[in-house]
């Protein structure tokens, strides 16, 4: 991965760069992190960028904001290979991979239409389980399992 590849999207002075995002997960991540509802945060993103490892990838650069691990780990559901770079003074001072948390609260919809969370104003809550087919979420309320490919954001 050459320096010029990253430069396809303009470098930032301070903030967070999330790299190695699958292109189709980009907008999901923007929503999970609430960036689509943020009126102050300066963000740039690139999509369908060339990647040796992934074919194509997406990248998000957030100016002047540093993300807490619990905030960033939620994106592991849709981008398990994402790398989070902390930038200060144009330098990468930390590189972190994301890890899927044990529990997920809010932002994902339960797949079961008869679940209480889809019928009453109740925030969703899931236990993360690692099955034979990768990551899945078990609803704390109706106990139904939402598999990775079925995951929908609220």
């Amino acid at each position: 991965m050459g320096q010029d590849k990253i430069m396809e999207v303009r470098a930032i002075e301070n903030g967070t760069v999330i790299d190695h995002i699958p292109s189709d997960a980009l907008f999901k991540i923007i929503r999970i992190m609430g960036l689509d509802r943020d009126n102050e945060c300066r963000m740039t993103f690139g999509m369908n960028l060339e990647s040796k490892r992934m074919g194509t990838k997406a990248i998000i650069k957030i100016n002047d904001r540093y993300c807490r691990p619990e905030e960033i780990n939620r994106i592991a559901l849709v981008a398990p290979e994402a790398i989070v770079n902390t930038i200060r003074d144009y330098q990468v001072i930390e590189k972190r991979s994301v890890t899927v948390p044990e529990r997920i609260e809010g932002f994902v919809r339960c797949i079961n239409p008869k679940c209480i969370t889809n019928n009453e104003p109740v925030e969703t809550a899931f236990d993360v389980i690692r099955g034979e087919k990768g990551i899945a979420l078990r609803c704390r309320y109706c106990e139904k399992i939402t598999f990775g490919e079925q995951m929908e954001l609220k």
């Binding site: 009453e120 309320y141 106990e143």
Partner: protein, 303 residues
């Protein structure tokens, strides 16, 4: 009083399942134990169910407590549009325990987070019905003398039937050998088979009730529901395959008993009823003692 709810069979340890079956036996020997005199228990049936409601209310009365509640939501604040949250919060101020049934899955778990008093799930949609599972467990213990190493054949709708899923989870503590008999459309879901494999428990899958019924200690029948099939012809063909007839019981074990969560429609021929191996009506009586055991255990008046 303690606050301990029972929402899912997985909320209980193996020891607690055994203990509740022992308490049920104790209540059967001595059904008049007014341990809850002066207490009030709310029976909230957001979805109607005659059998389960009456069984719970009988158990509550026999324990000496009083029942408040409703058997459907027609004349309640729910029909005025009150949220479920508010209904539970208010009613939990009026009673020492809530027993509830709801058509929405997960409603009792949510209620247990809001309520100040324990919540007992009396059935939430296709999800859980733990008191049914515990009365099945008690019926197995009572008829077999043990819970260990039982050979159980489960027949019918194994895909959507919540009772078979919960019973499978409960029996997984006891070295059970399972045989599943179901059409491809209604076979045991992969997640439960995976659960058994992870626990190292053996299971077999069959398309019809064959000679392996002769090895069974328990035959657990369930209803094959018409609405599960997209093709009505397929349903007509299937429903006859999964009917248990008296002639099929020849050569079965002496200790074998037939259980059914009821109501039955046609899956057990009426000529089976007179056979001493038919246990489904005794099973309902066990339900009252099991519910007395559940309520008194959760409220801490029995340990």
């Amino acid at each position: 009083m303690e606050k301990r709810s029972l929402i899912s069979i997985t909320d209980l340890t193996k020891e607690e399942i055994v203990r509740i079956a022992e308490l049920a036996a104790d209540f059967e020997r001595n059904p008049y134990q007014p341990l809850l005199e002066g207490r009030v228990i709310a029976s909230l049936f957001f979805e109607p169910s005659t059998r389960t409601r009456l069984s719970f209310e009988s158990a509550i009365n026999r324990l000496g407590a009083r029942v408040i509640g409703f058997s459907d939501t027609a004349n309640t604040s729910v029909s005025k549009g009150e949220t479920f949250h508010d209904t539970i919060q208010v009613i939990s101020n009026y009673c020492d325990m809530i027993v509830m049934r709801h058509s929405l899955e997960g409603a009792p778990r949510y209620a247990s987070e809001i309520s100040k008093v324990p919540v007992v799930n009396a059935g939430d949609g296709a999800n859980q019905h733990p008191s049914q599972t515990l009365l099945d467990i008690y019926s197995i213990k009572k008829t077999q003398g043990t819970l260990d190493g039982i050979n159980i054949m489960m027949v019918g709708d194994l895909k959507y039937g919540r009772t078979v899923h919960s019973l499978l989870q409960a029996l997984s503590h006891f070295n059970t050998k399972f045989t599943f008999v179901a059409p491809p459309e209604l076979e045991m879901p992969e997640e439960y088979k995976l659960f058994l494999r992870e626990k190292g428990l053996p299971y077999e899958e069959k398309r019809e009730i064959d000679s392996s019924i002769r090895e069974a200690d328990i035959v657990y029948m369930t209803r094959v529901q018409k609405e599960r099939f997209t093709d009505p012809m397929e349903y007509e063909r299937m429903k006859n395959i999964y009917v248990l007839k008296n002639s099929m019981l020849e050569g079965t074990k002496e200790n074998m008993r037939i259980l059914h969560p009821l109501p039955r429609v046609g899956e057990i021929a009426t000529d089976v009823d007179a056979n001493p191996k038919a246990y489904y009506f005794n099973q309902t009586e066990n339900g009252v003692y099991t519910r007395m055991a559940i309520i008194s255990y959760l409220l801490g008046v029995k340990k």
